[in-house]
Subunit: 438 residues, 2 copies
């Protein structure tokens, strides 16, 4: 068997267990919550305008809009709005945002196909598994070169998750993978603009198309992971042995549970959570007294934080300098700080005093960010974080996700319906309840 | 100004001249002819089935189908069918198929926007220019790594051509480029399957979306060719100076005229035209007498011919071994030889006697393919081609393109209407005539 055949065989035989399914339910709740939080984002309305000009059968719900669209359109818009505020889950092995792509794809497909709640949750587990494994197999150099894993790898994972959900044969899974691989795209240079969340929507849309092309028996070279010019050769280094990363240990444990999804408590990039945690331990300072701020990252873990000197709050989602400046001023880390408006002059002054460093550490050293303040009087203070809230060793609890949901929805009746529907999803014969509620 | 700003400034100020416009008319005729030839391809009907499930406003014509669809859908299907038989134009500097992507995009946009015939033709000229320049700037290593330029570069060129056609500002052109660059995809490992022509359709669809996103003021990082993680860094080597390739000599001459589009006379990959030309000079042989066939290419010019041992005629479009075997048997090079059916046993036997070689030559040596036959009795015969019919130094004439059209349409009334409409296109106040005819 080729590597591609072995890989789709693992997917075909995947049987996610109870713990993974419970994690998947939390993932669905957090995804819907984050999407609902982004429902009034300006970008959503631009996309809605576009799809109104297209028309099409209105069968798939768009979250928080009280309207439907075609499956492709809903995948695009839901993928965007789930990720619009960067408030949705990430995954350290994915180095990107799994649920925005996966669940937007699965919901679009579930709206036009017969799917049980259990199969939907299992497919989501499989999608996270596939996304994490491909991301590890294509290596960190993929991300560091400039690719946005949420887009480039998300489309492959979502197409395979979709195919799994619809009980595709192994040949069909390989075809779906082929259509996804040849649509894989998304550049990180767009971080801090509306186009970053658009990547999640484009990947979900491309995944739905990949599944649909497979269903009408469109044909590709079904061996995307093998032979000259294969996915890993073109998108990665393609030289090392990554087959064990793709193949070993399926059904033993699940990436959705271990290391698990990283649920967010602030609407900014998770790569800034370590530095934010360190700065929060320092707390509010008299910013006039600060001479210099030195922020140190281990092993290029600031790659996602592309804005050293952001001009807007939206760019500030990807700027440790901006986020630390807010914390040292004692400002809350709320949505309004991370919108399109220009950054205020006090923050700008603090940003100008900030220096970023990167230290190459042995792989045995846990990921960290250190924040060091040097005062004008010569005093110094520093804090280091390795386990910010949400990260794999300091997980957000079920109750905290429920609280996050309540704080966004602010509608007790809807909250109850969401909880009821999501937490009993593995007993549902179809997804109609959930699709009606969103 | 950044490189991106300088590049879009060149596009903004582009004023294609008369010779380029005349070439563009031939390009339109050949594109429609090649599309019409592919109108009954099985893949087209699979795509039509998909778009029927989507619905949408029926405003953009699908070539040869007597029906309309949404602009995005028409870009997808027309892009596919233009390239379905590999009978459409190529361009040596593009190393891919410009018109399938460019014209499918421009027709889709022209169906919902006010566009004169002159502006449409000028935009097409600009599109070929952009596609060839980006392909040269990203270097041959892009193609050789496994990317399919028709898809990866086509989307950028088509988005910019579309923006130019709609009189975009420089800022808007930079935005359209950004949306296209972040959707750039397509792997060559799919050559010889329906997914190769699908790349042209996907690129055209993504280009229309890029233009539409720009029109609703969606926002990206507008400097796709500058800074860390820019297009050339991620999709090319990104190390050398390519700005002169992108910027010098605009409005002096046009890539659509010099070296010009390469119009096809056979429905297979142009990289096989050199070897086919050499084999045709050898002519029909008693294939029983052949001991060995040695086919020699200069400088990796066989990269597109990925099938050394094809199983079907469709794969045979990308196999010099198969094409030479047909010629040596005295078989015609017609559509039926290049369809999905299995390759016959006599051809298979000849293919098994064939060896392919590649010789590194100085760049001053013109591209060539040599076919050498070694007979069982020890005799040898060889022929070398550097200028097959269609290639830049042996162009297909206007009259020959008209003949190609007649041989496909086989409908005198329609032929006349096409010629009338296309050859007076630069005087047309809009494209309604042309859009009705296709």
């Amino acid at each position: 068997m080729s590597l591609t055949e072995k890989f789709v065989d693992k997917i075909y035989h995947a049987t996610p267990d109870g713990e993974a399914i419970e994690c998947a339910k939390l993932g669905v709740l957090d995804y819907l919550t984050s999407s609902y939080a982004g429902k009034d984002d300006a970008g959503v309305h631009k996309l809605l305008k576009l799809i109104e000009l297209e028309g099409g059968f209105q069968v798939s719900p768009i979250i928080g809009q009280g309207r439907k669209s075609t499956p492709l359109q809903s995948a695009l818009v839901n993928g965007f709005l789930a990720h619009a505020l960067d408030f949705d889950d990430v995954h350290t092995e994915v180095r990107g945002h799994p649920s925005a792509v996966l669940l937007s794809t699965l919901l679009a497909l579930a709206s036009t196909n017969d799917v049980t709640g259990k199969r939907f949750l299992e497919a989501y587990v499989v999608g996270v598994e596939v996304m994490a494994r491909i991301a590890r197999a294509v290596k960190d150099s993929h991300y560091e070169k400039g690719w946005h894993n949420t887009g480039t790898i998300g489309v492959l994972a979502a197409a395979l998750a979709g195919g799994y959900m619809l009980q595709f044969s192994r040949d069909q899974l390989a075809q779906a993978l082929g259509f996804a691989a040849t649509q894989s795209s998304g550049l990180r240079c767009h971080f801090g603009t509306e186009t970053k969340p658009l990547h999640a929507g484009l990947a979900a849309r491309a995944a739905v198309l990949s599944v649909n092309l497979t269903m009408v028996n469109f044909v590709n070279n079904s061996n995307s992971f093998d032979g000259k010019g294969n996915y890993f050769e073109v998108y990665g280094e393609g030289t090392e042995n990554y087959s064990s990363t793709l193949l070993d240990g399926w059904n033993d444990s699940w990436k959705i549970a271990s290391p698990g999804l990283w649920f967010k408590i602030y609407p900014f990039c998770s790569a800034a959570y370590f530095g934010a945690d360190a700065a929060l331990r320092i707390g509010k300072l008299n910013v006039e007294d600060i001479q210099e701020i030195i922020i140190t990252f281990s092993n290029n873990t600031d790659a996602a934080l592309i804005h050293h000197n952001p001009k807007t709050g939206e760019q500030g989602r990807f700027s440790i300098e901006y986020i630390v400046s807010l914390i040292l001023q004692g400002q809350p880390l709320e949505f309004k700080q991370f919108e399109g408006s220009p950054i205020d002059s006090v923050s700008q002054t603090i940003i100008n005093k900030t220096v970023r460093q990167n230290v190459k550490e042995p792989s045995t050293v846990p990921r960290y960010t250190k924040v060091k303040i040097v005062f004008k009087n010569g005093d110094m203070i520093e804090e280091t974080s390795t386990t910010p809230k949400g990260s794999p060793n300091n997980k957000v609890t079920k109750q905290e996700i429920i609280e996050k949901c309540k704080s966004i929805l602010k509608n007790e009746e809807l909250e109850e319906k969401w909880m009821e529907s999501i937490f009993t999803l593995n007993d549902a014969t179809d997804l109609s309840d959930l699709l009606c509620l969103i």
